[in-house]
Amino acid sequence: MTTTLIVNNKKYELNLKGHETLLEVLRDHLGFTGTKSACQEAECGACTVLVDGKSVLSCITLAATLDSQNITTIEGLSQGDNLHPLQEAFLEKGAVQCGFCTPGMILAAQSLLNKNLAPTEEEIKKALDGNLCRCAGYVEIVEAVKSAGQKLKNG
């Protein structure tokens, strides 16, 4: 079965059996190892990617169902040498510790900012509730998302 995946604006023609998860395809077939996984059962959020701008858990999403949809991984956020405002904000606010949850966290935040550039603290916390950070940098993460939203809003 041939499936066309559009990952970070690039087309990939893949021969899939049908049972492959998006996580598996991104990491093992296409080499987008920025997408992490910490549970493989939809409980940690580390595998979050964007599909048409909305966050999905790639560990429970079948790749074959996403034919011709736009998938964004963490590798697709920065533009050339320039970090995305969320990436910048995560660094500036000290929202990165071990970094393993960071790609999923940033993409879940992007999904929120796609709908709302000025989320309240509560809205941010709620949007990121499915993304675990065991280093527990939640305070800084929320600050970073807020600050990135402002930056994006002000263009």
């Binding site: 992490k36 580390a46 963490i74 970094g99 939640y138």
Partner: protein, 784 residues
């Protein structure tokens, strides 16, 4: 001469940092040195490792909590297409390993693959390498193991009774470790006290739950006799040591490389059978690399866990609040093997001397073997359990004589420049200031005992922590090398293992500050046993203090080499020179002689040709602990903190809402205040999780909640507001006065919350975690 100044200015254009901050980086919020790789997904973790021909390794585990191994038949599995190697104890030296070999040789009790008995559900007895996970899983199922099932024991107190099943044949009553701490005359002290009370506290087991599970890739090039092990870890040099021992190889035959590591929290501090197996499987497969990556269930069930503890205390005080004597008994469920047991007990008992002046103390701690999964190190070591127990007990003692808990603590705490009863040498000590600042910030006086009408309360807990712990080896040194290249770019090689705390950044800040150069010049290469100097690892809050001092010494050495050349060229004394903010200056007049760049150019010039390679090795001055009494000075410095929690209890639902937590922390000097705050908050939130819901549960030795659905960890919703107050006491032995502080913040959290709950609704919780059912039960008990 290569010119670098242009590149230097353009670097980090994304980050709004002032260049002058990079020139004097200590004390500044310098963004993570490895940050861009982390936020863009470019950084490779062991989890991401892939090599040509890489095989998938899986562990063969015991399904029984206690059984004799009669026979292992691997023949069917060997026939399965795609299986490349199978190992059992027959392939090993059967040499045992342990984590406290130096001081506690009798606790070295685990074989890399068990050969005689299995002692917990999950005990490793073999491993398979295959072309993919499915084949490896199938091969594991095809291995036929015959067991003789033995009676098992799952409760520490039961295991101590005569006639209980013996987990290790040579250990009577399953007492794996007994640690007596004994000073003064505690019995007499109790008799001479005006008020004496007894309390028993119960602390549950918990999991590290690192986001990156235990993962390693092993490759054994047999003809060159060289092993490379890539690993997600806190202590690669410890892994190397254990591998060398079990494989009977030299240290330099084994290269352990720590890649970016997705958390550790004490769970990645020792070699596990999986690490050994990845290497040995690779050898058997002809040198092909083998990757073993735990899934979440394996991580929860078979890695290491927190010791559950029963903490019994009986103490006496004078009417004026002076502590006279503390006595107690600690019983810890150690599970099947000893792991870091002895040091966990030491931390659970001796730590009290850093906090309080106690003339008479007698606490005996027992670590008991059971057929539960293995207890080991976890952030705070035993300090979280003892912190809850002791700090709850202190509140109850104060209450007994009608004294304010803050006043009671201020009366008994340790002071700067003192020697404790057990001969710990305390230099800087900001504990008093921590308590004063935290109480002032929280409005303690206006709130304590005054909000019961709205079910709100406020509680305090205080704690102290070590900056390293010489309980593992004859030394606990850290080493560093600074290499200044011809283009003025600089390498820092450190043995320290950054598992996310920001060690590489902090150590680079220290090195840049001491060398007098911009932080931007530095690249940090860390924790590779073949190319970086030795370092014992990231534990005991030791990295900033010990590895930081080694980075400082290496930078000082490199600087001296540069200054020697400048002094020779300019006909002056190198002692009169220094490098500050990229300029070589005369100390007396602050006048600039030449720039750093020119000075380096001079070093590598035709006339001098001197390579600049600085070295630093730091081993804190301590005295060995006498483990028969608990006497000794375990650390080169001590850190302190006071924490205050304000809570609201819902009497209908039993829910505890934390309104705010204040944490005042003696950090010596904050090398990177933002990172320090991140460590305090992260640690504190882990403490909140442990206080309110985290609970690794077992049934007949099996973990019953091995996933994030049933083992709850803190999430973004429900994190209370926190205020970190940094107290800088400029430790005389710390690099630029700094202390470590990765662990202390979760030590008093449970007690602060328990004390606040009592202040709010009058119930005293002595069993963790404080789940709604316990609150409701206690409230009902009160009305009866």
């Amino acid at each position: 001469m290569l010119k670098s100044s242009k590149r230097l200015n353009q670097q980090d254009k994304n980050l709004k940092m002032d260049n002058k901050d990079f020139l004097n980086p200590v004390g500044k919020n310098i963004p993570r040195i490895d940050g861009k790789g982390l936020v863009t997904g470019q950084t490779k973790y062991t989890f991401d490792m892939n090599l040509p021909g890489i095989l998938v390794g899986k562990m063969l585990r015991s399904p029984h909590p206690h059984a004799k191994i009669l026979k292992i038949d691997t023949s069917k599995a060997e026939q399965l297409p795609g299986v490349k190697a199978i190992i059992t104890a027959e392939d090993t030296s059967k040499i045992k390993f342990g984590s406290n070999e130096y001081f506690f040789p009798h606790t070295v009790d685990q074989e890399a693959l068990e050969s005689q008995k299995v002692r917990y559900i999950g005990d490793e007895i073999g491993a398979v390498a295959a072309i993919d996970e499915k084949t490896a899983d199938e091969a594991i199922k095809l291995i036929d193991v015959q067991y003789e099932i033995l009676p098992a024991v799952f409760d520490a107190e039961e295991a101590m009774k005569p006639g209980a099943p013996q987990v290790h044949n040579h250990v009577r009553n399953n007492i794996g470790v007994m640690l007596p701490v004994n000073f003064g005359n505690a019995e007499r002290g109790l008799q001479e006290s005006d008020y004496v009370r007894e309390d028993v506290f119960y602390c549950q087991s918990a999991a590290h739950a690192c986001m990156e599970t235990h993962t390693c890739v092993g490759q054994w090039e047999t003809f060159s006799n060289k092993i490379t092990l890539w690993i997600s870890h806190q202590a690669p040099f410890k892994v190397r040591e254990a591998l060398a021992k079990c494989l009977k190889m030299n240290l330099n035959d084994i290269r352990v490389i720590k890649l970016a590591s997705g958390g550790g929290f004490g769970g990645k501090l020792e070699m596990l059978p999986m690490d050994f197996s990845a290497c040995l499987l690779s050898k058997k497969a002809g040198g092909v690399p083998v990757k073993i990556c735990y899934n979440r269930e394996e991580e929860f069930s078979f890695s290491r866990r927190k010791h559950s503890m029963i903490y019994k205390l009986k103490s006496g005080i004078k009417k004026d609040g002076t502590i006279v004597a503390i006595t107690g008994e600690v019983i810890a469920d150690g599970g099947a093997y000893c792991s870091y047991g002895p040091t966990v007990l030491a931390a659970a008992t001796m730590r009290i001397f850093m906090v309080y002046k106690i003339p008479n103390l007698k606490i005996t701690a027992y670590r008991i073997y059971t057929n539960n999964p293995v207890s080991g190190a976890i952030r705070g070591f035993g300090g979280v359990q003892s912190g809850f127990s002791i700090e709850s007990h202190m509140d109850l003692l104060a209450q007994g004589i009608g004294m304010d808990p803050v006043e009671f603590r201020l009366k008994n705490i340790t002071e700067p420049n003192m020697v404790t009863t057990n001969k710990m040498i305390i230099t800087s000590n900001g504990l008093r200031e921590c308590i004063e600042k935290a109480t002032a910030a929280s409005g303690w006086k206006q709130k304590h005992g005054k909000q019961q009408n709205i079910c709100r309360g406020i509680g305090i807990g205080i704690a102290a922590d070590v900056m390293g712990s010489k309980m593992y080896k004859s030394h606990e040194s850290g080493g560093a090398i600074i290499k200044v290249e011809e283009d003025c770019s600089v390498y820092l090689f450190t043995g320290a293992a950054d598992t996310g705390q920001g060690a590489n950044t902090a150590l680079s800040q220290i090195a840049a500050q001491e060398l007098g150069i911009s932080f931007k010049r530095i690249k940090c290469t860390a924790a590779d046993t073949e190319i970086t100097p030795f370092d014992t690892g990231s534990f005991a809050s030791r990295v900033t203090f010990i590895s930081g001092n080694s980075a400082l010494l290496a930078a000082r050495d490199a600087k001296q080499q540069i200054l020697n050349v400048v002094a020779q060229e300019y006909q002056c004394q190198s002692e009169d020179l220094d490098i500050k903010a990229e300029q070589v200056i005369k100390k007396a007049s602050n006048s600039v002689i030449i720039s750093f760049e020119k000075a380096v150019e001079l070093c590598y010039s035709f006339n001098y040709g001197t390579q600049v390679i600085g070295r630093g090795s730091f081993n804190p001055k301590t005295t060995p602990i006498d483990f028969r009494t608990g006497e000794g000075n375990v650390s080169g410095s001590y850190g302190f903190e006071a924490q205050i929690a304000e809570v609201e209890v819902n009497k209908e639902t039993g829910e505890v809402k934390i309104l705010k937590i204040w944490d005042a922390h003696d950090v010596g000097k904050a090398i990177n205040p933002q990172s320090v705050k991140g460590q305090i908050e992260g640690s504190l939130i882990m403490g909140i999780g442990y206080s309110l819901y985290e609970n690794l549960q077992f049934k007949n030795g099996r973990v019953v909640n091995p996933n994030f659905g049933h083992y709850k960890v803190p999430r973004s919703v429900g994190i209370p507001p926190m205020e970190s107050i940094l107290i800088e006491t400029n430790d005389p032995n710390g690099p630029f006065g700094a202390k470590g502080m990765g662990e202390a913040a979760l030590l008093p959290t449970a007690a602060a919350i328990a004390n606040a709950i009592e202040d709010a609704v009058g119930i005293r919780l002595k069993e963790l975690p404080f789940t709604p059912d316990k609150i409701i039960k206690a409230l009902k008990g009160m009305t009866k």
